[in-house]
Subunit: 226 residues, 8 copies
């Protein structure tokens, strides 16, 4: 069976689901219109579902023209065509975020994890300068199989959360801030230098990557290794 669909614009990796357990995903930003539509159509036909990240509203309209069942969320910029019979959500991923401006990245993480069958608890606006907000949600966070910590500016949330839980924390620095933030560098370095254990970091603003990894860990915790 040919696992690569060569559609001129791109070589779609249809073997990904077999190899990794999760289907191919589309990074929409910057894709030419025709390519985007062709890719989504092919994935819908061959995979039965589509997840597109970093899509703008115009792209969403375009894809919906070709695939009417597609949904679009302007906050997370996620475009999705769920499978016909989506799996039951399982386990629990907690997505924590520091400030309201981190919401788009947090939602990208949350909705990605949900697309990949994780149940998700949102714990938003719990930045460390008002610690009682975070401590007030600690029980919700501690029930999770994996925690995603999303923060810009000084990115301290990941370290504080990391010291409070017994499961992996996926840290997502965001580009929220200004000045010596240097487009997310401050939060990125903070998270890489965390004094807490069990924390690893993904790229700045990479909510998708964190959601994927959290879903993978959550699935392992629910099902073990096949």
């Amino acid at each position: 069976m040919n696992e690569t669909a060569d559609i001129g614009w791109a070589k779609l990796d249809l073997g990904r689901e077999r190899r990794t357990g999760f289907p191919e995903v589309v990074f929409c930003q910057g894709k030419p219109d025709e390519a985007l539509v062709a890719i989504c159509r092919t994935l819908a036909e061959r995979q039965g579902s589509v997840l597109g990240t970093r899509a703008d509203a115009r792209q969403a309209e375009l894809v919906r023209g070709a695939l009417p069942g597609v949904r679009y969320d302007p906050v997370s910029r996620i475009l999705s065509l769920p499978p016909e019979s989506p799996p039951e959500p399982e386990g629990l991923v907690a997505v924590c975020s520091a400030g309201t401006a981190d919401l788009p990245v947090a939602e990208e993480a949350a909705q990605t994890a949900e697309f990949f069958a994780a149940r998700v608890e949102r714990v938003y606006d719990v930045g460390v300068s008002g610690l009682h907000r975070l401590l007030g949600r600690l029980d919700d966070i501690r029930r999770a199989r994996c925690v995603v910590a999303v923060a810009g500016m000084e990115g301290a949330l990941a370290s504080v959360v990391g010291g409070l839980v017994d499961v992996p924390v996926v840290a997502v620095p965001t580009s929220v801030g200004y000045g010596a933030n240097f487009q997310g560098l401050s939060a990125l370095l903070s998270m890489l230098n965390t004094c807490a254990n069990g924390v690893a970091t993904v790229n700045i603003d990479n909510g998708y990557g964190a959601g994927y990894l959290a879903a993978q860990i959550n699935r392992l915790a629910c099902r073990g290794k096949a």
Copy 2:
């Protein structure tokens, strides 16, 4: 019960095992001699085991003077006093490394994971410029619940491995290299910008952090969430 042991030099976090499932660990580098011995002695008494990272040979001798059962590995620079009846190793963590100079970091990851009860498969010297070496070990890697990918220079190993497995990959950039490597920056940025899914990154040369996280994921995959 007082979960903090205040020994003057430091406040030892004895509640860590209860909170996180893994005991307190000692970062030896730069600790004054007296402090190091006092900390190790207290942990041995209160936790029944000690894991010390980044210890040099002189420090190891010193600690062994106070705690004769302590072992020391000069490659990983790990100093350890295992618990009296260590748990049976479980699951599988694969630790892959790119070059021979990455060995100390890879061993720090591997021995940390082993200390935290994970079974470990070592897959060393499989850098991407000789791809057949990696592909020849693929079956071993694919059996793991979590993969640690250790690489300096251009750090490409994490992306290649990430595309071949269905479990989380913890990427560890090392400071191995020279010139435009900038003490590990090149590998760090590579890993953060990986085009593969399911990859997260820890600090440069942080084998311990990767081993801890891998053990955490492995335990979740074996036992689920308590």
Copy 3:
């Protein structure tokens, strides 16, 4: 013979073809309209051919107004007036690229090499996170006299390709990516730190520079040194 054409706006280096074997080329981006037209017209008259890089559609229209035979490719942003009797393509340059977003840079490299008389094989969308795509095209790549490897994000393609071939690899980092990509810095550092032999790097997004160098090497391999 005066080898410099001083046209007020610029001093055109008409001796370049004699000195280097390849004619003067125009970097269009940012050139004032009048200057661009004057330069292209002079080159067409004195050299008999024009190659313009980084041209936008408006500039292409403008030049076409003065030189009707000019062609324009919006993907590579190359504007060209081929010589009346173009030389037969010779040898083989393989241009490999990692993702669809790298296409403009890859095409700039490919079309530059073609303008300078190299035969070109395009091997696109073969990023290392789906290694089978690259391995499936290995025979095509191995026939080349020189390989151009175009990649953004972590830029691992250059190292992987470098380990598989016996000819020079010209690595082109692209600014494709976001966050800790820092406008191409991650791919640039990756490629400079490659663990593979026979790899050298040009500036970020410099498809033209890579295509030129690849054509130069290809010509040496076909004709030897004059």
Copy 4:
């Protein structure tokens, strides 16, 4: 009256105490031996007290040869000759630090503030990965007129403390850490990007500067503005 003592090696600013309320201080590191002794001797004679920072043990011996009353603390590297009748300590400055390795910088801050007549409360080893340690000392911290927060690695302590108190927090990033810490850059950027109010930052490892500023604020809070 001549307020500058020109001793060949340096121009000592004897008007500083009149202008700023605090006497001239000596940064010992890198001073030639003769210069250091001459400066300390002159200050002892003209000011009646000496505070020297970043002195090593050999320098301390040297100065003690000339000024037998001088004391030296190897942890803070502070060398001092207190005035004959030192002022009564007043107010309260809390010096908090994250880890044991931050001790030298924290002590430099604490002893500087004490030299300038502030009462000091030390709250050490209260890094955010074990939050209960910090929260357990909150009452001590909240009594202070000014808080100094000393932390390396991700430097999150400053933000957490900043959200818990109603007085200024002087943040001191330290160079403690490794890898993507980049000699203190991570903690520095964290502190500059703090989401907490009332926090300002001094140079990396600049315990002296923080102690000085804290003493200044403490004095204002105790005495108001003259």
Copy 5:
């Protein structure tokens, strides 16, 4: 009493005034319209006053639609609803700035300090390349309980002022400049490396942070610690 107002968009920290003496403030930039209005309305109701920073004219109009008493200053971009009976201004904060382009940041600092009940003296356009301008205002500056020094480019103002006064100087680097200014990095590094005592630095362009801290110090100098 519930000190957190959870209004869906955000968790408003109504306990802040009790904990820190100053009420919650709104960073307007980037907030969605509905969220901004909801937050301002809630704060007006629960706190009796609103301070919003980094607001543009459109946002100001919007908020004024909901809260007619709101004022807006386009230079400082501050939007404010003062309390019904504002406290009498007390003490003195001097806000110094180097050039005319630093005015917006200086005004943000000045108006923030005024909102928090400090009397403010503005000392503008006194950059160090024309030293007589600064020296001519020295008496005004020396009356202050705290000085804010705002400067872009080489940021030397903070050091010069720091050597002339006996109270804390809060340094605010601005992004004013071009080229090797790197968006404020030059002024930031200058201020962090000041050779003057009693100087601490806030983030680039963070006039609000400096005004807050200066008001806090000024209040301590006027009232002492409660």
Copy 6:
């Protein structure tokens, strides 16, 4: 045939010569003594020749103890055991360097190219601040099939040479310099931003990489593609 020799310390890639035309090379710096000797011995037995780079004098002695025929050059730090009947040198590679301090890197390039059968012309100490030195050697340079340009500080040599020849220029930035040189960054950026055509860059101080690539191009120019 097993092309990987697994000697515990490392997996030697004995298939490299078949795949790339050049044998496996040893980067000596940082290798443990036993590993270095074992690797050299294995390569001598299986490949019939050894090239070791970045070796210090002690390592050279050590290897010579095991392989008496080994030669060592302290300037280039190259350790070599040539094959029994070395191939006749062919073609021509010109190695140009800017200053006397660049000599070690230039020699590493030159001797590497010679080991791989290229004839080499050395054109040293021809930095651009005394242009007549370079212009006086132009005929020698123009005879080459490939030019290596080695320079530290501002690295301008690569651009000047690139404009004078019709063959590829491999640019090697060196870490020679101080201050704003930032360990070779200035020369690296210069070379990447060259305004000349046909120039590509290798890592800072990577004389070996440049020599390898130059030999590869020289071989192509002499023999064409097999």
Copy 7:
């Protein structure tokens, strides 16, 4: 006499001409319209001449509305009102530039020097990749009392010129380029690391600063020190 004109918007330094020999100059970019007009009007009245840099066309129109004699050059973005009887040009400043895109910065330098009474020779488009263009103008350059060297990309022009003349060279890096140019950093570092003597550097794109300094040196060479 009051040497500072306080016009609300700014404190104009009317003593500058007396102190430095050259009148106050206006950096137009970013000035509010009213301020710009008020400043220019005041300078025209009090100094008898105006030099404004970085003005856009709209600002020029605006100022011309108030001061009809004002001239504007869109390339250099200089706006000027020469004094009634301008001084005779004296001496010679040579302004050299590497490429056509460096023209605006070169013209800013040239016109600034001319405004300050220097005779100027323009030597444009003489970048080092076509060395004959520069060498062909050497006699013109060598007649100058001071040379300004303007270049982007690798900025090699300053070093090459510096080695050919016996007068000071003021190097101006420009932001011309892309990728690893990092907005002029490559040219800046090149020029700071020049191997030539008698070269000093101003900020990226700072044609004005170079023109001012060149005029100052030229005047010293013509008139000596007053």
Copy 8:
């Protein structure tokens, strides 16, 4: 006449004095012993004088063995053999420095200028945090034809001096400082971003370069252009 002395180790540029008015100078640091002696001997014979910079005491001894008349100053690390009948010092260069730790760089500048026949006034330890020290020496500074401003840390001295004089200021950032000084980067950026006119900058710690340029300007001011 052959103006290049090729002594194996280096090509000495004996035409430099004819071309530039100043003889060839030796950068001693890192030169092999034999090369250093050979170069100094050749220059002594052919030029009649030697100036060596960055020499350590051992190198000075070595050269003195071959050339007994050589002098060595351990502070500036300058080694010199003055010409038999040195020219009368002319004009005036003022060398200002901020702190005592800047002395070696300031002396390198001063002694270089003196070697090239400038009279030099030293104005040391006049950093801007004690402004009265600088203002007290203003008359001395204003007599100079050129001012060298040497400063580390925040490097503010150059801007302050630049605003007070009517001649060129050569700014020399030093690596004096720690933390966010980043080995001189803070002073370098400060000086490049100066708000004063007539200031240009040389490399970090490049006292030699500043002394050379100042002597060149001083000579022009005294003699005009030949």
